[in-house]
């Protein structure tokens, strides 16, 4: 095939990008080379629109062993233990083929983690669907949940937490973000940097097939009417092979034969080989006839661009091939020496004795395009004036029941019961709480993780929204008694070529950066997914934040269920009555305008750290952060989980009771305290200048509000669970 500008454009490259390729090579690329450039230079692999802004994120910290740039981030959790973690999107493929799209998303992120030598110990996910009434939503939801479960369950890694939301902006572009945490000894972390000349380059895992060709390019473009035709670009997963690959790799890693290792993810053999060469400042020679192929007569172009799953590329020490092959034979996996490292600083491919590609590595990596896209700054919307009289018509209990049954609040048990969340025998906090918690096997430590996003706040004001998501992650970790350490982010946005979408991206990133800097909660890994867009319509900006924290003594972990009758319940943090963009305003008042709640980073940090001290001193019986639906929703969930009631009293504030109970002011937590500890707790809160209100005491099984109105907890629980079961029809 003759390469020209049109062929390049068909590969998703821009005209000037093609010109630049020809200049860099000082000739016209052949079709294999063009394929390689298009795979390396697309948005998904090159971060060409985002790199400039991502650089501003804080990525360093005392506990950070490895920040962004490797397969995943690594943090220190003491005693020579480290946690490797990352979140990644698989949005485009999941919309086209929900089961395989979601499954391979989970498979891909686990591979990123065990590539670094870590055994995966927990999975999480953040999934977002269109309006429940949209004709595709139900099938997409079912397919995605089955796909996530199908892969993670088979791997034997517990899925311990997640987040699901519905919003019509995802009607044509669902989001599937998968996160994995792995455990590794600090001195056994593996990296992707190749080193040394004439070292054998090894291919292990599944055979290469024709699936997923151009997957990364597909994920770098908007959808149009012809998305059904893109099905062949979706990869097909085989969790069984990945389980074998995991065990084989960890067995090989126990020795000292690996110099560098990299999984074949987006852009397959292309990006993995180039990344290893680039980081090691080396060249790589590959003999494509030696690559194990599933189908006959695969061309060099297809072999290089296939995104077949469950494959790894390894640079070995010389002379270790036999020993390594024995391990992969034991696990029935392919093992082939396909090339070697060279000093050419080029990627050179041979097929049938002929050289089929010859590209300087730096042209693919350092010289890849970087754009300073135009973006538009968002204005802070004006506050709505909601009249107090308008609020008088509502009855708290009725509103509460509606909110508990809202698709974005209701119990997601239907989903997480389909995920094995207890395998590995270390899950001490299951899904449905503020964060999932797993023990560090064989120790007294535990690791907490949560994943959050607040698309509505980010859409209303990206800068505030960006900060808020980081704060929410911080709060969710504190709520289980974990010290927040670091985050990973999955930045899901519309087209970067649209100034408004690009503005949302830039300002969300700025917000994330400010909050993570202030909270000392650095970003150690992440992923950008642009073009979540169908024709001209992009999704609401949805940065998802995966937070990880450490509990030094897992006996001090706490959960959100109310524990004991007569204990006192407090809310920490000041309630100002902010209603704009709350679930109450948007769904009950049908008011979609106004700014999101403000973020005060000092209060966030101070309230959170003070609560953590209280928890570590064993003074707190249960805790839960206040988020969507405000105080009364948070309290109701604690009642439902603990099968207990509460006598709830609104303090004598100037604000209306609807504002008090349903506002979504930030930096707040509900806590349960034993009567005898109350003075100690309030003294510590006062000493640290943390605002709190006393809300009431726990009773047997009813929620009373100001002694005027009541509802049984069973009734609230039924509101909370029935929506999902009715919707999914069982």
């Amino acid at each position: 095939m003759i390469v020209n500008e049109q062929v390049a454009i068909d590969h998703g490259l821009k005209r000037d990008e093609y010109t630049k390729i020809c200049e860099l090579l000082k000739r016209t690329p052949n079709i294999t080379e063009l394929g390689i450039f298009s795979a390396m230079w697309n948005e998904h692999c090159s971060y060409k629109s985002s790199r400039l802004h991502l650089k501003k994120l804080p990525t360093k910290g005392k506990k950070v062993i490895q920040g962004p740039g490797e397969n995943a981030g690594v943090i220190d959790i003491e005693d020579n233990d480290a946690i490797v973690f990352k979140i990644e999107s698989h949005n485009h493929p999941s919309f086209i083929e929900p089961y395989q799209g979601a499954a391979t998303g989970v498979g891909g992120i686990m591979r990123d983690v065990f590539t670094m030598g870590a055994r995966p110990i927990a999975n999480l996910n953040s999934i977002h669907f269109g309006s429940p009434q949209h004709k595709k939503t139900k099938n997409l939801l079912r397919g995605v949940v089955h796909g996530i479960g199908g892969y993670g369950n088979c791997m034997g890694v517990p899925t311990v937490a997640g987040q699901t939301s519905f919003d019509s902006s995802y009607n044509g572009n669902i989001l599937v973000n998968a996160m994995t945490l792995g455990l590794v000894r600090k001195d056994k972390i593996f990296y992707s940097k190749a080193a040394g000349l004439n070292k054998p380059v090894i291919y292990v895992g599944s055979k290469t097939g024709r699936d997923g060709i151009h997957g990364a390019s597909m994920a770098s473009a908007s959808f149009d009417d012809k998305i059904e035709e893109k099905k062949p670009t979706v990869q097909v997963g085989d969790p069984f092979t990945e389980k074998l690959l995991l065990e084989a790799c960890l067995e090989l890693m126990a020795g000292d034969s690996i110099i560098a290792i990299q999984d074949m993810g987006a852009a397959g053999l292309t990006s993995s080989s180039i990344e290893m060469a680039s980081k090691g400042n080396l060249g790589i020679e590959i003999y494509l006839n030696k690559v194990p192929c599933r189908e006959s007569k695969m061309s060099p172009y297809e072999i290089m661009l296939s995104e077949s799953q469950e494959r790894m590329l390894i640079v070995l020490e010389n002379g270790k091939e036999k020993q390594a092959k024995k391990i992969f034979d034991k696990w029935n996996l392919d093992f082939a020496v396909i090339g070697k490292t060279t000093n050419s600083k080029k990627i050179q491919l041979y097929f049938d004795e002929e050289m089929v590609a010859d590209i300087p590595v730096n042209t693919l990596v350092e010289n890849s395009p970087m754009y300073d896209r135009k973006w538009k700054k968002a204005k802070l919307p004006k506050k709505n004036k909601i009249k107090k009289e308008d609020l008088k018509n509502f009855k708290i209990i009725d509103v509460l029941k509606k909110i508990l049954a809202n698709p974005n609040i209701c119990s997601k048990e239907w989903i997480w019961q389909q995920y094995d969340h207890t395998v590995m025998g270390d899950t001490i906090q299951k899904p449905g709480g503020d964060a999932g918690v797993v023990r560090v096997h064989g120790t007294n430590k535990a690791v907490a993780a949560s994943v959050d996003s607040s698309a509505v706040y980010c859409w209303a004001h990206p800068l505030t929204g960006g900060k808020q998501v980081v704060c929410e992650s911080f709060r969710n970790l504190i709520s289980v008694g974990a010290k927040p350490i670091a985050i990973t982010n999955c930045l899901n946005f519309g087209s970067p070529e649209n100034e408004e979408n690009m503005g949302e991206f830039v300002e969300c990133v700025q917000g994330i950066g400010e909050a993570s800097e202030y909270l000392k909660f650095p970003v150690v890994s992440g992923n950008v997914s642009f073009y979540n867009q169908t024709k001209d319509k992009g999704i609401k900006p949805t940065p998802a934040i995966g937070g990880v924290g450490l509990i030094k003594d897992y006996n001090k972990m706490i959960t959100m269920d109310f524990k004991e009758i007569n204990n006192v319940v407090l809310v920490i943090g000041k309630t100002e009555g902010h209603l704009d963009q709350t679930l109450f305003a948007r769904n009950i008042l049908d008011e979609k305008n106004g700014p999101p709640p403000e973020i005060n980073l000092f209060n966030e940090k101070n309230n959170g750290e003070t609560l953590l001290k209280l928890i570590e001193s064993n003074l707190i019986k249960s805790a839960h952060d206040v988020s969507l639906g405000g105080i009364v929703t948070a309290v109701a969930k604690m009642c439902i989980k603990g099968k207990k009631g509460i006598n709830l009293n609104k303090p004598k504030y100037l604000i209306n009771e609807m504002e008090y109970f349903f506002s979504e002011d930030q930096g707040r937590y509900i806590i349960e305290v034993g009567k005898k500890d109350l003075k100690k707790v309030t003294d510590i809160l006062n000493k640290n200048a943390v605002h709190f209100d006393e809300l009431g005491t726990i009773n047997e099984n009813e929620l009373y509000i100001d002694d005027k109105t009541k509802v049984t907890i069973d009734e609230l629980a039924s509101s909370n669970t029935k929506w999902f079961l009715n919707y999914m029809g069982n």
């Binding site: 369950n153 088979c154 034997g156 969790p239 389980k243 389909q418 207890t422 025998g425 023990r439 972990m557």
Partner: protein, 227 residues
Amino acid sequence: MKSSVITFPGSNCDRDMDVALKKFGFKNKMVWHNDAELPKSDLIVLPGGFSYGDYLRCGSMASKSKIMKSVINFANSGGMVMGICNGFQILVETGLVPGVLLRNKYLEFICKNVFVKINNKTNRYFNNIKNNVLEFHIAHNEGNYFCTQDQLKEIEDNDQVAINYCDENGKVEEHYNPNGSIKNIAGIFNKEKNVLGMMPHPERMIDNCLSGEDGSIFFNNLINNLK
């Protein structure tokens, strides 16, 4: 007491079982599916997971593994063999216990705590357990136990039902059946009661801070019965 846990390609509860057995005093060995000989053992466990990726049919390929010949001989000579979850699926494929395991009634994987009623205590697995009801944990996609009416009659005549899904008070009703199993059957024995296959995972219930502790009752009792 010596135990052995067999690891098949795709087993993923083998480590959890190893941890549990050791916690309650067993000297446990991990045995690779491709070995021919079993180490000297008082108990053989086929663990949960997805042996051979559940391809073809759950448990069917593992049932033909090299080590299974020795496991079958061991069972036929009266040795204690316990299959949990995928291990139960492997046992039915070998024919050591009767019946088959179909896909769950609602076609979905289920991971949750369940209550089971002990149906028969005249065997070395449940003898001496004071409780009639235990809280166990299930995590499976194919746990819907099925057999023919003739087989069912034979199973019941021989008192081969080990445990049934029930409520916390031991009431066995369809409402408490998580997967559609015939007669709420969660586990069965062979005729001689030395082979037990069950869907629930007692090894996930051995610590107060996990899903519960009734697995500890089971393992403590088991090792005492074997002594």
